[in-house]
């Protein structure tokens, strides 16, 4: 587990950072007008021109490759649930970086999800 834990921390930081950058970029691009091919292409083109989405790509690529490495080192039942801390870190990011209104009810939900994921983790074959 000595090499798995630092890699998990790296994965979580890159994944959360990448998702927040992507969310910020998508909020700037706006929602697709419809699910017609041209509307979806316009949405993707708007995303391609957004610098926050370009910032998200290396972070998500690093998280993707660290996830691949983790899969070769540890069972799926350990790797996937261990990323539970994404939820707490991501909610802080949403509140302070994306300026979302995170109500008490939403925090309670996030904490329940995080504890639930942790419980699922501890039943995994470590």
């Amino acid at each position: 587990m000595t090499r798995v834990i630092p890699m998990l921390i790296f994965f979580v930081l890159c994944n959360t950072g990448g998702e927040i950058a992507m969310s910020y970029g998508v909020k700037q691009v706006g929602e697709p007008e419809s699910f017609r091919p041209m509307a979806l292409l316009r949405f993707v083109w708007g995303a391609v021109k957004n610098r926050w989405l370009w910032a998200a790509i290396p972070l998500l690529a690093a998280s993707f490759y660290s996830l691949l490495i983790l899969f070769s080192w540890a069972p799926v039942s350990v790797v996937i649930p261990a990323s539970a801390s994404n939820y707490i870190l991501g909610t802080f990011g949403a509140k302070y970086l994306l300026k979302e209104g995170v109500s008490v009810k939403r925090w309670m939900g996030v904490i329940l999800v995080c504890i639930g994921v942790m419980l699922v983790l501890f039943t995994g074959r470590v």
Partner: protein, 141 residues
């Protein structure tokens, strides 16, 4: 149906699609990486692993599903808050447990059941909050 109810409904449907793509993609990646074996952290080791992943069909299938996941995720986040979409995605663990019981006939421990119940309760709580608390288009670049 009010605008907020419609937004909540379509976001949750997109999250469900996102979860299916993510779970399938992860399973495909895991299968591919198990076929490749342990990755050595060294320049030749990483180069070899990269070459092997490029040649592996399961990895490519996994990547396709993860592209689908990214598109669903981007659409969901364009409609609703990141802090709304992200925890709702944890519903995937409940689906994984159900699949383990129904498809793989695995026995699930009481602790895991409690975990899944908490996840579902958490998703339910988050699902009751206002899906979008920011105004689209006002974020500075």
């Amino acid at each position: 149906m009010s605008h907020e109810h419609r937004l909540r409904f379509k976001t949750l449907v997109m999250v469900l699609l996102m979860v299916v793509c993510a779970n399938t993609g992860d399973l495909m990646l895991a299968r591919g990486m198990k076929q490749i074996g342990n990755v050595q952290i060294s320049v030749p080791g990483l180069g070899h692993a990269l070459w092997m992943t490029i040649q592996n069909g399961s990895i490519w299938l996994g990547i396709l599903f993860l592209i689908g996941f990214t598109l669903c995720y981007m659409t969901a986040v364009s409609w609703a808050d990141y802090s709304f979409v992200m925890p709702a995605g944890a519903f995937g663990y409940a689906i994984q447990t159900m699949l383990a019981i129904v498809v793989l006939h695995e026995s699930v421990s009481a602790q895991r059941w409690i975990g899944v119940t908490l996840i579902c309760a958490g998703v339910l709580l988050v699902g009751q909050t206002k899906p979008n608390t920011t105004n689209i288009g006002v974020l500075p670049s």
